[in-house]
């Protein structure tokens, strides 16, 4: 152990993470120009090394390609402002990268950093540490973040992310030591201290980074024998990738939302809370949307000339499309499809066309037949123009190959005009060449920044507050209509499932065992009675059966434990 390290340990008695100490140590050493540090510096250097080639490779390949596509800076300039961030956005190399190793409480750190953002002179430090005040850090950060030259946004952005990556790298040893002690504990005060320590370190690190004659010194350091020698000069991406994927262990804190003192919010409260609150950039957002509205006539024109229009970009496009609909489409037959609606099906779309648009009374044996009928009747009547407005054509229910194929066939008809929107980042993967040619899209970027209020309002899309209210109410409703015996049977299964909820390999209660238990509780008298009862449960989707590896039937209630507990409590109360 080097003297400096010892010193660090003595001075920083309250430091929790060894990794941090190491970081501190090497910075101190470098400042003093003392001995060559090991390990962590190696990391620092490796980073510097791999920044270079990676960047070049990316930019060269891309540049070639971009040249070929003729998107230069000029292409961006042409559209001249007005939210046309197309070319100034991050390039492919920034968007599509591999997973990198992350440290557990990076987020808190980031948050505190952002909290000290310009314009807000807020300090996020306990009174004890005076030097972590906002201003000095601003200065150093300003220097670290490079000036961005507008035309080559991509490259520069890559560089500007250096501090992040650097920190990430330095964090790597830390991560290892953390995982040894298995997950971060949840005392918040300690954590705060940690944060501060780290921040100090970081500040020093930045200074160090600025003061060292970076490349030369770094190269010199690299030549010294390293602890873990790496062959060749290409650890870069590959290594980073494997470090990130090395352990399946997740190093996040164990805290859960249970710790929140605020009660859980349900859908209504949520809506109520958010309703009254206007967005902070209402003016700008309004202006942005006004810009998009100028395209309305052009969309109509292009739709009539055989193109179909596809909108993409951040923010809900429903209000925009709705305005388009009410301003341009009122005089024609049109269909609005909410692709985000959780139980939309191709059948319902086709049915609305056949029944309401074509006024056909009769049923079809298969969607294919129905499609054929629609295509035939629309071809026969070219004067009937149908406009199809599809919100979220990439919605979960519309993603399937068959549905998209059918929609594409509709879109390819000359008298059907489709105006659709997509939101999911991987939405374009839904279409292959054949479908794209059917749809004949013209893409329009319409970033609106409007909240996805309606799209996310359905119960199962609300991940945070999955209150299970719907599941619970359906449970109680169905059970209320059952015989006491049946209720008892269900209760038995529920209790058993709750008992074994800590068992991760629990796959359900086997039928035989369940039967035994039911008999013991005098709930059923024969195998057959139980089976009849179970069929009824299954029909109401109260239980699910699974065949195990030993081909025994296992019964499971597909509801999360919390809801189940709630349910049992409610039952008890009655």
């Amino acid at each position: 152990m080097s003297p400096a390290k010892r010193a660090a340990e003595v001075s920083g008695l309250y430091v929790r993470f060894v990794g941090d100490a190491e970081v501190l140590e090497h910075i101190v050493e470098r400042r003093e120009g003392a001995k060559v540090p090991k390990g962590s510096v190696q990391k620092l250097l490796a980073l510097k090394e791999d920044q270079g080639p990676q960047e070049c490779e990316g930019s060269v390949g891309e540049q070639d390609y971009l040249d070929a596509l003729g998107t230069g800076a000029t292409a961006g300039e042409e559209d001249g402002g007005g939210g046309g961030g197309g070319s100034s956005g991050p390039g492919g190399s920034a968007v599509f990268t591999f997973q990198t190793a992350k440290r557990s409480h990076k987020m808190a750190q980031m948050a505190s950093e952002m909290a000290r953002a310009p314009g807000r002179t807020v300090t996020f430090c306990s009174p004890g540490s005076p030097e972590a005040a906002g201003s000095p850090s601003r200065g150093s950060r300003g220097a670290a973040g490079e000036t961005r030259t507008p035309p080559k946004g991509r490259k520069v952005r890559f560089v500007s992310s250096t501090p992040h990556r650097l920190r990430k790298r330095l964090a790597a040893p830390n991560l290892r030591s953390e995982s040894d002690s298995d997950l971060s504990p949840s005392h918040s005060e300690d954590e705060e201290d940690d944060d501060e320590e780290e921040r100090e370190e970081k500040e020093e690190l930045r200074e160090a980074e600025l003061t060292t004659p970076s490349k030369v010194a770094a190269a010199a350091l690299y030549r010294t024998p390293a602890k873990k020698p790496k062959k060749g000069l290409e650890p870069s991406l590959v290594e980073e990738y494997f470090t990130a994927h090395a352990s399946s262990k997740v190093t996040t804190s164990d805290r859960t939302l249970q710790k929140l003192q605020t009660p859980k919010l349900d859908q209504e409260t949520l809506a109520r809370l958010l309703d009254g609150k206007p967005s902070s950039y209402a003016d700008e957002i309004n202006q942005l949307n006004k810009e998009h509205e100028k395209f309305f006539s052009k969309w109509m024109l292009q739709l009539q000339l055989g193109f179909n229009v596809l909108l993409y970009g951040l923010g809900s496009k429903k209000p925009l499309l709705e305005r388009f609909r009410t301003s341009r489409l009122l005089g024609v037959t049109h269909l609005v499809v909410n692709g985000f609606f959780p139980s939309i099906t191709l059948k319902s779309i086709l049915n609305s066309i056949t029944v309401e648009v074509l006024e056909h009374q009769g049923s079809f044996r298969s969607p294919v037949e129905q499609m054929d009928f629609i295509m035939k009747s629309l071809r026969q009547d070219p004067s009937l123009q149908v406009y199809l407005v599809i919100h979220n054509i990439d919605g979960p229910m519309l993603r399937s190959e068959k549905t998209q194929q059918a929609l594409g066939q509709l879109a390819s008809l000359t008298n059907v005009h489709v105006l659709a929107s997509i939101d999911h980042i991987n939405a374009p993967l839904v279409w292959d060449q054949a479908k794209l040619s059917l749809f004949n899209w013209l893409w329009y970027e319409t970033t609106t920044y409007l909240p996805y209020a309606e799209e996310t309002s359905y119960e199962n899309s609300l991940l945070v507050q999955q209150s299970g209210a719907l599941a619970l109410s359906s449970l109680t409703h169905v059970l209320r209509s059952l015989t006491p015996n049946a209720r008892g049977i269900f209760r038995l299964l529920a209790e058993f499932q709750l008992e074994s909820r800590d068992n991760p390999s629990y796959s359900g209660l086997s039928f035989q065992e369940f039967y035994q238990r039911c008999r013991e509780a005098f709930l059923v008298n024969s195998d057959v009675t139980l089976r009849t009862q179970l069929t009824e449960f299954r029909d109401h989707k109260l239980i699910r059966t699974k065949k195990g590896a030993d081909s025994v039937e296992y019964l499971l209630i597909p509801v999360d434990p919390a809801t189940l507990t709630d349910f049992l409590e409610k039952e008890d109360a009655q």
Partner: protein, 727 residues
């Protein structure tokens, strides 16, 4: 009228009692522009230009496919004939047990094949047989479906085509036939075929083609087209072929395989036992790059059409073609889009039409348009070149501007008339050079010429140097080609050039005679060279070898030029001169904006969009979209004042595979509190203000909706991250 509901996802709206008629495309075209008449005119021009172009494209495609289709037709005819007049000898009996099969190699872009198949089906229908069934892999995942489709289409087509007749003749099969699944077998098809051909052996099944009816054979072949062979399941295909081979004596079957990759696919998909039942003949369609080259040649390298692409737009479209889809259809779509955009966005595009029409339009320009002309960069450049009095005139008198405008339009027409033949000549000369310094395809040279003065580029210099080294026969063939091009063009000036080139070629030929004499003179030199080289061979010493080589070089340099060399240099200079007079980039021409569409960014954004990049830009750099000073930040770190979803997104970037919701919420609360101007340290663990909580929930659900995170059961209150990148 509401379109949101918790029980319904699909809403139909029908206009009530024709209260408003939908306006036509023209109205939407002029909507928003101040000059309605001008707009209507432009729309008409746009439509007519597009119609002309479309016609041309169709013509081109027809011509391109003609050769292959004719071959195919011949093949089908032959195989049908061989079925009909079956001989009894052993050979033909052997052949007869095989199913004649045409393998069509069409190239990788499947959607483009549709046109080919359509024209093929039509052709077969018109001239050979009414029995054509085309199947796609998508609809035939099992043997049963394939059989059903084939039968349905064979019999169904017949039913549809001559309903009344069929009703009388084949009452058994009409109408309900396609629905009938009971006798879905080839024997049923055989029976049907027998009755169909016997009942109307002489009469054509298609009335409107009574003239060609006599050409139908007595037993027209039954053609089954497999449009995408690769996508079929091998098992289904094998079974189908095996079954069909059993009926080959009763049914004159012909298969056509559409292949996207290579003919070896057939071998890969079908085992020998099955493929030996087929008698395969290969047909190769034109490659899609050639197809594109022809389209570009016919639509852009001609003065027939006045709408032109700038270099950038052409590059974008060709780039999409080469890097993304190899789809000529998409290229044409791009053309249509740019045409529309050009006429829509450029008010002066009224002048983009035929010469006489354009001159009339120029005369009718109103003041606003004249102003627009005066503001065109190319026109401004033109004005600057004029003498001061003229400048004043051009800037003040609109009548004068109109006059000049007409003159300029004429010269623009003339310029293009000369440009393309000159371009072709240059291409003829440079496309045979090693390494193709000016590009192998003419479109590359075209782009180069559109971009800048081609003779100022290094590539041009090297190309000229290489031409100076061409052998005589090569040069002569090139020149002959050039002469051919130039004599066919309309411009008088170029015709004269062609004449001169012709003369040069003639002199070149004459040189043959002269060279005989030259040989005598050269003979001596040659002898001397022979001597020295002989010496070189004797001495293997490196030093001496080098010395002799240097000597040889020396004497070559001083050597007199042969008459051919002199002539060749003259030719090169002549060509050089031709290029310099005619291949000026269009930017140099006043009023070029009227013809050229140059907004490559628009085309790229509409055809080759990157939705994910756009979303991620909006998330990480809100200032790009929301021009608010509070969001402006140079260092790439967004401020705490950004919209919620941006903050949440930025925070989630700092996490690993799993994200703890509680930590996330806390981090968000810190930022949000700071944004409100309060001290973030004031929040104690677990106390988060309700509103912030709600905002957090909304932002996280939005991120989930966008596909950045998803809920996971790996750990309580965690979500999994789905993307990496976007720092």
């Amino acid at each position: 009228m509401a379109t949101s509901s918790v029980s319904k996802g699909c809403f139909v709206f029908k206009p009530t009692a024709k209260k408003k008629r939908i306006s036509g495309a023209e109205d939407f075209f002029v909507d928003g522009s101040e000059d309605v008449e001008n707009g209507k005119l432009r729309f008409r021009l746009c439509q007519s230009t597009w119609d002309e172009m479309k016609e041309e494209i169709e013509q081109v495609q027809e011509d391109l496919n003609k050769k292959m289709l004719d071959g195919l037709l011949e093949f089908v005819k032959k195989s049908a004939a061989s079925f009909w007049c079956r001989d009894d000898d052993w050979m033909s009996r052997m052949r007869a047990s095989e199913i004649p099969t045409a393998a069509l190699v069409l190239g990788v872009n499947m959607p483009d094949h549709t046109i080919t198949f359509e024209s093929m089906t039509e052709l077969l229908h018109d001239s050979l047989t009414p029995f054509v069934a085309s199947v796609q892999a998508k609809e035939c995942t099992a043997m049963k479906q394939l059989m059903q489709k084939v039968l349905q289409r064979l019999m169904g087509t017949n039913v549809m085509v001559d309903e009344d007749e069929a009703e009388a003749d084949l009452g058994f099969h009409t109408r309900d036939c396609p629905q009938k699944r009971v006798n879905c077998s080839l024997s049923a098809l055989c029976d049907w075929y027998q009755s169909a051909t016997k009942k109307s052996p002489v009469k054509s099944p298609r009335k409107r083609l009574s003239s060609s009816q006599s050409e139908f054979l007595q037993s027209p072949p039954v053609v089954v087209i497999f449009r995408d062979l690769e996508a079929f399941s091998p098992q289904v295909l094998q079974d189908f072929i095996l079954v069909c081979s059993q009926y080959v004596h009763q049914l004159p079957l012909v298969f056509i395989f559409g292949i996207a990759t290579s003919p070896s696919t057939i071998q890969r998909m079908l085992p020998h036992s099955v493929s030996s039942l087929l008698c395969i003949e290969l047909f190769q369609s034109l490659s899609c790059t050639q197809h594109l080259a022809t389209i570009i040649d016919k639509l852009f390298l001609t003065s027939k059409f006045h709408f032109k692409f700038s270099a950038k737009v052409l590059q974008v479209l060709v780039g999409i073609f080469l890097y993304h889809d190899f789809s000529v259809c998409n290229f044409i779509k791009g053309l249509q889009l740019s045409l529309l955009e050009h006429f829509h966005s450029q008010p002066l595009s009224v002048l983009c039409c035929h010469k006489q029409e354009a001159l009339v339009h120029a005369q009718q320009l109103n003041d606003r348009d004249v102003e627009r002309i005066q503001q065109l960069p190319s026109f401004m450049r033109y004005v600057e070149e004029q003498v001061p009095e003229e400048q004043v005139q051009l800037l003040t008198s609109s009548e004068h501007v109109k006059g000049v405008c007409q003159k300029l339009l004429k010269s623009l027409h003339k310029y293009h008339k000369n440009f393309y033949p000159a371009l072709r000549c240059l291409h003829v000369l440079t496309s045979i050079l090693p390494k193709y310094p000016l590009g192998k395809q003419i479109r590359e040279l075209y782009v180069l010429c559109l971009e800048k003065k081609v003779w100022e580029t290094q590539e041009y210099d090297s190309a000229m140097q290489l031409i100076r080294m061409l052998a005589k026969d090569e040069l002569v063939t090139c020149l002959q080609k050039c002469v051919e091009i130039l004599t066919f063009c309309k411009s008088k000036k170029l015709k004269k050039v062609g004449q001169q080139l012709q003369d040069i070629t003639a002199t070149c030929e004459k040189l043959d005679k002269l060279s005989d004499e030259g040989n005598l003179v050269d003979g001596e030199e040659g002898d001397r060279e022979n001597d020295s080289s002989g010496k070189g061979l004797q001495k293997t010493d490196l030093f001496h070898l080098q010395k002799t080589l240097l000597e040889m070089k020396e004497c070559r340099r001083t050597r007199r030029k042969t008459p051919y060399e002199i002539l060749r240099n003259a030719v090169v200079d002549y060509i050089d001169n031709l290029v310099k007079t005619h291949l000026y980039p269009p930017e140099s021409q006043p009023l070029y904006e009227v013809w050229y569409y140059s907004s490559s960014g628009t085309v790229r954004r509409h055809l080759n969009a990157t939705p994910r990049t756009s979303i991620q830009t909006a998330l990480s750099h809100p200032y790009c979209y929301l021009q608010n000073e509070a969001l402006k930040n140079d260092s790439g770190i967004i401020s705490s004042a950004a919209p919620d979803i941006c903050i949440i997104y930025k925070l989630h970037l700092e996490c690993g595979r799993l994200i703890n919701l509680y930590d996330w919420l806390e981090a968000y609360a810190t930022v949000a509190t700071a944004a409100e101007g309060k001290d973030p340290s004031a929040i104690e663990g677990g106390k988060v203000d309700e509103l912030k909580h709600a905002r957090f929930i909304r932002a996280v659900s939005e991120l989930e909706f966008l596909g950045f995170v998803k809920s996971t059961k790996q750990k309580t209150d965690h979500v999994a991250r789905l993307t990496w990148g976007g720092c």
